[in-house]
Symmetry: C2
Subunit: 296 residues, 2 copies
């Protein structure tokens, strides 16, 4: 019997009597000719999605990413695609806070001084009392907000459409001058691409911090690089445009920039949640029940 | 007329008709012979407290520190001493979170890679779901807890005396093996000195993170240095014993250690709160009302 189920990790619960094979996105994949349910390895580049074309029996694909737009063209007609919506929320929110606090509390300075064994002390910025423009108010945005509120920041919410307590994205120009921190938690789509350009950055007050944990395309990288190089703005970015940021790009070396290589979603808090979702979805599939997080 | 009031900053509200002088702890102090109310400059070393001995008219000293034990011997009989209790809570809590998230999310690695222009990616630890032993449950501890709960950590509270929902310090030995993060928020006193020694550190599981934003004396520095050098434990410390940490101390260079030079309390969130407290206390003093935060 060839396996009906292809999973990335062996700690995902497999119902009794179901034969599963494992493929974590590295090495040679097993025989996939009978695979009906495929849980894509997370964050392993283009090979795992390409395998879909070799699965004539495929009925459902479970992605562990929240955004699956790039997968859609690879999913054959009649095959269900379910996303990993929610799995990364807390991990991304945590990384957003790590970036904000690192920037406000001067961690790059302390880490540099540590190398020199230096006890030089300076007072730093804070997060408390700062006005934080939280742009993107889905489940990740709300997780970021819980952290910001614990820190007594003054949070102003912005989302694609205005609603009770949330500003619409069209109100952004009027909100930027009053914000000392802007946190972008936006997906990549035509409406978000280039949202923060030279004009928007110019509207921010001196010393404002621009944080991006959504998608790099929301910010005009050249315009942000210029403002940070001038010492007028600061940046803390987990995502940039393009990715990877080329080795010689000036943004890497600016003292006012903190850059992490798109790692916000990939922390330990993701794994147990992903294992749980994959196991639950597999159980639903085997019982013939509808999956959750279905995209198509 | 010589000034009755000596203040560290000119943005503190001074009641009408009251003459104030200013001394921020640097340079030569003004004539203090008539000073009755002295707000000590914050974090400026031993000179500002020594000035107390030159104030024959002194009636009240307002410190901007939460801990004033070292000041007590300098306060003449009959002079009121008020502390800065609460002013630093949020600043210290924020720094504690900055240290925890920096350690869990590998910020020293990313900052090092940034210098090299490297986009190498690895998955990291997280704060979510980790069991955090919060040792010290006063107002700073509660501010740390609000952050930890926003991050969905599993918080276990420990304080000097057990109470509803809070373990007593005598229960610590039984709690250490189950904790992956220990956060110390303790004052320096005979009960806290040396609380975390070689035996307590040995009780922690592999890879646990020891965070200290209280006082350095709570931890046996040599024992912690050994565990971190062995790669068995990690540390993120704003306070150490001794301070400053000597330039050649091995702790500075350990990859598993993050060290900041006792800066948790000194961020922007402190200043507006300190200005407000000083102004309110001065107003009370001038109206002949009792001060708040009176220590003696």
């Amino acid at each position: 019997m060839t396996p009906r189920v292809l999973l990335p990790w062996s700690d995902i619960a497999v119902p009794d009597g179901v034969e599963a094979a494992f493929y974590d996105g590295t090495g040679t994949p097993p025989d996939v000719s009978a695979v009906e349910f495929y849980v894509l390895p997370y964050d392993r580049g283009p090979e795992p999605p390409r395998l879909i074309a070799k699965m004539p029996s495929l009925k459902a694909v479970q992605s562990l990413s929240a955004g699956v737009d790039s997968l859609l063209p690879l999913i054959p007609d009649g095959v269900t695609l379910a996303s990993g919506r929610g799995l990364h929320d807390l991990s991304v929110a945590e990384h957003a806070l790590a970036l904000i606090l690192a920037a406000q509390r001067d961690l790059p300075r302390w880490i540099g001084q540590q190398r020199a064994g230096s006890w030089d002390r300076v007072h730093t910025r804070s997060l408390a009392d700062e006005r934080v423009l939280l742009v993107g108010y889905g489940s990740i945005g709300r997780a970021v907000e819980r952290y910001l509120e614990a820190g007594e920041a003054d949070v102003v919410r912005v989302a694609s459409t205005a609603r009770e307590g949330v500003h619409g994205i069209d109100e952004l120009p009027g909100l930027l001058p009053g914000a000392s921190i802007v946190v972008l938690v936006l997906p990549d789509n035509p409406a978000t691409r280039g949202l923060i350009g030279a004009r928007e950055l110019a509207a921010l007050p001196n010393d404002a911090l621009v944080v991006n944990v959504g998608r790099g395309t929301a910010i005009d990288t050249a315009a942000l690089t210029k403002e940070v190089a001038d010492g007028r703005l600061r940046a803390a970015l987990d995502v940039v445009d393009p990715e990877p940021l080329p080795p010689g790009h000036p943004l890497w070396r600016l003292p006012g920039a903190i850059i992490t290589p798109h790692v916000a979603g990939g922390s330990n808090s993701f794994h147990p949640r992903a294992v749980r979702l994959a196991g639950e979805q597999l159980a639903r599939f085997i019982r013939g029940e509808p999956l959750v997080n279905v995209v198509r």
